[in-house]
Amino acid sequence: MKKEKKEKYSNYISLKESRKIIRYNIGQMKYYERLKRKKKEPSEYTTTMHDENNIIEVEDLETCFFTDTGTVQSVHGVSFAVPKNKVVGIVGESGCGKSVTSLSIMQLVQAPQGQVVGGQIRFNAEELGYDEEGRKLCYDIVQMPTKEMYNIRGKDITMIFQEPMTSLNPVFTIGYQLDEVSFLHTPDITKEAAKAYSIEMLKKVGISMPEHTYESYPHELSGGMRQRVMIAMALAGRPKLIIADEPTTALDVTIQAQILELLRDLQKQEGCSIMLITHDLGVIAEMADEVVIMYAGRVIERGTVQDIFHHPLHPYTVGLQKSKPLINSDTNEPLYSIPGQVPNPINLPNCCYFRNRCGKCMEKCKGEYPHEIKVSETHSVSCYLYEQE
């Protein structure tokens, strides 16, 4: 009798349950916060790369948010790799965990509620050599204490954010904010040298009056200019990996094209990798070499651009492709949209999250979550449809 009642009001949390959740959350948050502050020997957070041509390898990443209504698993066993000198696009709808994945790589998940609870993020740092067996040593960012992370952030891995309007500190000049990166990562740089370097960076990102912009405050610049400044800031540390978290979402279409072009040119020039997060398939088709498709915190399909755009496998990817507006289509049909909604991320069952919205749902789909199935050397998908092949 009691059980029935509980199921009926599954959205309702009793005071007792709520207290239990809060107590659990406090315990968990304290545990992970302490882990991050703990002093560790470098050997504790170095491992070896699986492929030394990758700049970063994410494996089974688990990131949770401990909220008052329960634990939200934002990133659930995500694995992918970013090869050197390549652009990897991560696509998915809002709330599917793409931003949280990128913030996990930077250790910037909103603490203490958000914590990386498992998996490995292997970052291929050049200064680490090879071990006795000839494997490339690397840092495991998940195990790294926050203090050590300061040396990687802004130098080896940098980030460009979604909102250029609010991503720059309004009370400091552009110059000050740019110089800060140089002062931080080049220990004995003089003021003049830092200024010259910052102005060079501003020139590089195509700002026409770099000296003038250097003295300006963020509110004196337009959105496109600010995003250029953000890119300059991301480049200033001479990074190996730039994480661009929807860099063009807040900009208008002409500026979008300019910024993307700039990013692509700079990536070629500087020889770094870019992890491009977006929900715009057009941007991906234009920019990326490899694509990772995410849904509800899981990677559902990954492959090269050709794989994803010419042979999409997962019903969700197929749906995404279909819901793209086509400029040259003559039909007056309404735009296709995938029916249904993204499931509530709290306490997801262990089965395919897309099955309720999927046209090809089978009896098998009610079972446990499908494993990643390798279709070709570069292409893999998590769906029972392809199990036999």
Partner: protein, 334 residues
């Protein structure tokens, strides 16, 4: 900038005129005036006084309580003001500016020490409780400062006197000087006197600091929390800055912006005295005097005191606007 300040000062003259009209009419419309209160006891015993009471009122310029009479009184006060005279206080028989000038400094001393302490304590407290949100530290400071906000000053002052002065005997309970003490007319004697005064001021300052910390601390905490969730803080972290630099450089400058508005209220509170606290500790500060003047209907003093506060408030707002343009580059005065 200069033009803006001149413009603001010209506007504030109109504001001050409005304030003076309201205050003057309010004071004159009080049910009992200075003469009534002063001669109340004599009138009961001596009918001769009662007959001459109107005469006294005329002498003080408060005889005619009709609208025109009050208006006439106001304009004569205003005329004096323009000549630079604030009139003589009824109670003290001295020019109002002298009385204010003499008693202001003790209030000012208490207020400035209390304000500095308040800022020194509550801003760091606010920042730490924001950076350690939902921790034990946050809850403890929040509860304690909330108690501070909630306590009425007369009640908390009474508790402080009972505890520290009567039960423990650490501090004197009232006044500024120990009544029995004498001080030689030398430098050492002066220092001794100064020490005695400071000793007497500990409790009033303590009380006013404890009562005022809460508001500022909550304000700082809210602002810091808001700033710490801003996108540019994430950018600062993504650059590789240490948590300390992020909080005390990037976040703090932004926390300061709303705090600048608080400066507007500080100027009048620095010079205006604390009515109840001074009364409880029997300190002859300006707040205590204003309290006496209000009770006895001392019109020139009330007017003088209120105009003094009004001028300070107007200057305070101007000052905080200028501060705004200094701490926030987005604000330009024009």
């Amino acid at each position: 900038m200069f033009k803006y300040i001149v413009k603001r000062i010209l506007i504030s003259i109109i504001i001050l005129l409005g304030v003076s009209i309201i205050v003057y009419f309010l004071v004159r419309l009080m049910p009992a005036d200075y003469v009534d209160i002063k001669f109340a006891s004599q009138m009961l015993n001596n009918p001769a006084v009662a007959e001459r009471i109107q005469e006294f009122k005329e002498l003080y310029g408060i005889g005619d309580n009709s609208f025109l009479g009050i208006l006439k009184g106001y304009f004569s006060w205003l005329g004096n003001m323009f000549r630079g005279e604030m009139g003589d206080s009824f109670i003290y028989n001295r020019p109002v500016e002298d009385v204010i000038g003499q008693n202001m400094w003790i209030s000012f001393t208490i207020a400035i020490v209390a304000t500095i302490l308040q800022f020194l304590i509550s801003i760091p407290l606010g920042i730490t409780s924001a950076t350690h949100q939902y921790s034990a530290r946050d809850y403890v400071t929040t509860v304690l400062t909330m108690i501070g906000i909630g306590l009425p000053s007369y009640f908390f002052a009474a508790i402080a006197i009972k505890l520290f002065s009567q039960s423990l005997g650490w501090f004197p309970n009232s006044g500024l000087l120990t009544p029995t003490a004498t001080y030689p007319d030398t430098f050492a004697g002066f220092m001794q006197k100064l020490g005695d005064i400071s000793w007497h001021l500990v409790l009033p300052i303590f009380v006013s600091v404890i009562l005022s910390i809460g508001g500022l601390m909550r304000y700082t905490r809210t602002n810091t929390l808001e700033v710490l969730n801003a996108d540019y803080i994430r950018t600062a972290r993504a650059k590789g800055l240490s948590e300390k630099t992020v909080i005390y450089k990037h976040a703090f400058r932004n926390t300061l912006i709303p705090l600048a508005t608080l400066l507007a209220g500080i100027l009048p509170s620095l010079f205006g005295g604390m009515l109840i606290t001074e009364k409880v500790f029997a300190i002859d500060g300006i707040g205590n005097l204003a309290y006496q003047a209000l009770r006895q209907g001392d019109i020139p003093f009330i007017m003088g005191y209120n105009m003094f506060l009004a001028v300070l408030s107007v200057l305070g707002t101007l000052f905080s606007d200028i501060m705004y343009s200094i701490v926030d580059p987005r604000v330009k005065l024009s």
